[in-house]
Symmetry: C2
Subunit: 331 residues, 2 copies
């Protein structure tokens, strides 16, 4: 045995030693010891143990997570809509014509409820006014500045404090077991990229989301990607498997969602005849967060709840399964 091989052997030994030590601590401390926690741990254990009949090789360990309502709060409205309304208000002094022009007038007066009621055409106009006409770099800076100051109306906390502590633990646990974690969201990819690396440990290249068109062009001599007022791709419902294929090019082996917008992603992930993990977060905790499923505008959960029984997805009962909802620390 050469010295080099000997060194590698010693290295492997130490690595195994440390891994074993880490594995003995509870990877999901904010979860009660209920069926959801048990199912998540069983899946990860069974698919990562060499020799297991359910073993999944590392390169194929792709885990996808919806964002709104799965990793962070989505009530009383998607956070990105709150951003759009605030942005519209901030820009209003530069656009006196909005006072008499729909859908701007309605949203400036009525806020998010008016935005939700403005329909698809209204939404596109609001997106054009608030999300386009700048470079991607500028847009991310604007989102970051907004997140640093905006507060949730009920909890009076920054939105990026209202992520789900139990889900942060799932992300870390799966990554520790060599799963690659991706966000697959109906929200805007660039919006999510503004905070996902810092908040979830998920880098920009692992964010699949909706997109507006961008154009490569020089501005003041510098190459930029300029955001155009035109929807390019909607990463929701049947769009989620399409977005997954565009960006990831592999079928996930685990997927977490919470609404009908995640139905096709979970079907695509789990209906393979192999051991897979599908999970639906059911918002059942009106006291600590919100309780909603069929009768809500944002994050409606109906068909996907029916499909969960059929496809044997885990349904995570927030009230029963989670010891805590939000992280304690302030940002």
């Amino acid at each position: 045995m050469s010295l080099r091989v000997y060194r590698l052997g010693v290295l492997a030994l130490f690595a195994a030693w440390i891994t074993a030590a880490v594995a003995q601590t509870d990877p999901l401390p904010s979860w009660n010891d209920g069926p959801a926690k048990q199912a998540i741990i069983a899946f990860v254990t069974d698919t990562t143990r060499e020799g297991s009949s359910d073993f999944i090789p590392e390169p194929e360990r792709i885990a996808t997570f919806d964002n709104d309502g799965t990793l962070w709060i989505e009530q009383p409205a998607y956070v990105q809509l709150a951003f759009a309304v605030d942005r519209l208000k901030a820009l209003a002094p530069l656009h006196p014509e909005w006072k008499d022009k729909q859908p701007f007038k309605a949203v400036l007066e009525g806020g998010m409820a008016a935005l939700a009621a403005s329909g698809e055409h209204g939404a596109v106009e609001i997106i054009a006014a608030t999300h386009a006409g700048m470079t991607n770099e500028e847009f991310r800076r604007i989102v970051k500045e907004w997140l640093a100051t905006a507060k949730h109306p009920r909890f009076d906390r920054r939105y990026d404090e209202l992520v789900y502590q139990p889900m942060l633990e799932v992300l870390a646990y799966m990554r520790a077991n060599r799963f690659k974690t991706f966000i697959v969201s109906g929200g805007g990819a660039e919006f999510i990229r503004a905070f996902a690396e810092d908040r979830y440990g998920i880098p920009p290249e692992q964010i699949v989301g909706s997109r507006i068109s961008t154009k490569f062009e020089r501005r003041d001599g510098q190459p930029t990607l300029f955001r155009l007022p035109q929807v390019d791709f909607v990463d929701d419902g049947p769009g989620k498997p399409v977005g997954i294929e565009q960006l990831i090019g592999r079928r996930p082996v685990a997927a977490f969602g919470n609404s009908d917008g995640d139905l096709e992603m979970l079907q695509w992930t789990t209906e393979t005849g192999k051991r897979r993990l599908g999970a639906i977060l059911h918002h059942t905790d009106g006291e600590r967060e919100y309780a909603y499923d069929r009768d809500t505008i944002f994050g409606r959960l109906d068909k996907a709840l029916e499909a969960a029984a059929l496809d044997r997805w885990i349904v995570i009962d927030m009230k029963g399964e989670w010891k805590t909802v939000f992280p304690a620390e302030k940002r």
Copy 2:
């Protein structure tokens, strides 16, 4: 110091030891000790050394590589076109009407030259007939089967044997230094995904390419992504920075290309005021490969060669800088 900290210290020591041992071997043995090799090594060394003024943190080490003419051969025509022509011939017995219908008639009789001459409209029709009407999974299988048998007309070798050995070394060298390597190609993403993981060590989630539209739908009860005869995105020229932003969401710090189709990608990568690496492979070796730049249909290099001087990109003179072109081993 706790036992745990002690163990981690020992682990780090061994890791550093092994890294140092590896670093002493030549990372680019197929390169002559010329200006290109020196510039690549200087860039990697300077941007990965802690404390260097050019240091780039690991998450930002994104390196992008064009495929046709940069990682593998693109003469006498793009490999994907050879695939399309062969596929058209294989399907022709099922389509007797093609004998009298353009552009099919021309391509069936004239091969790749006729395909190149058929213009954009013709190309779209050929793509529709050969690249759509099946699931993504089926398409990758068809490409794999084709690659296993098709031979290059001049070298009489499998196309995936005609990758550039010196570039395989660059990929491995950059990955060993914690750069994440991506392909950014005008070719089809799904076509490249059929062989890139096996051949280049680049996984599907790190392939940016052109796309046709896909649709999520059930076929025989199974969820599939079905390929539609419709171009969705062309990842070439000014499309490359757009594709990079869609899939990666970060500006690369190093980019390799060989044609005018890579111009904007290299500008986007290098025009930042920071230490960056842009490289153009100049095909100057008519004996071992091909010699071409301004006067070619596939891989035309004109503007990007002019820009190289202006933006201080490396121009890799294939004939002078490469000891070998293709790997020796058969697949």
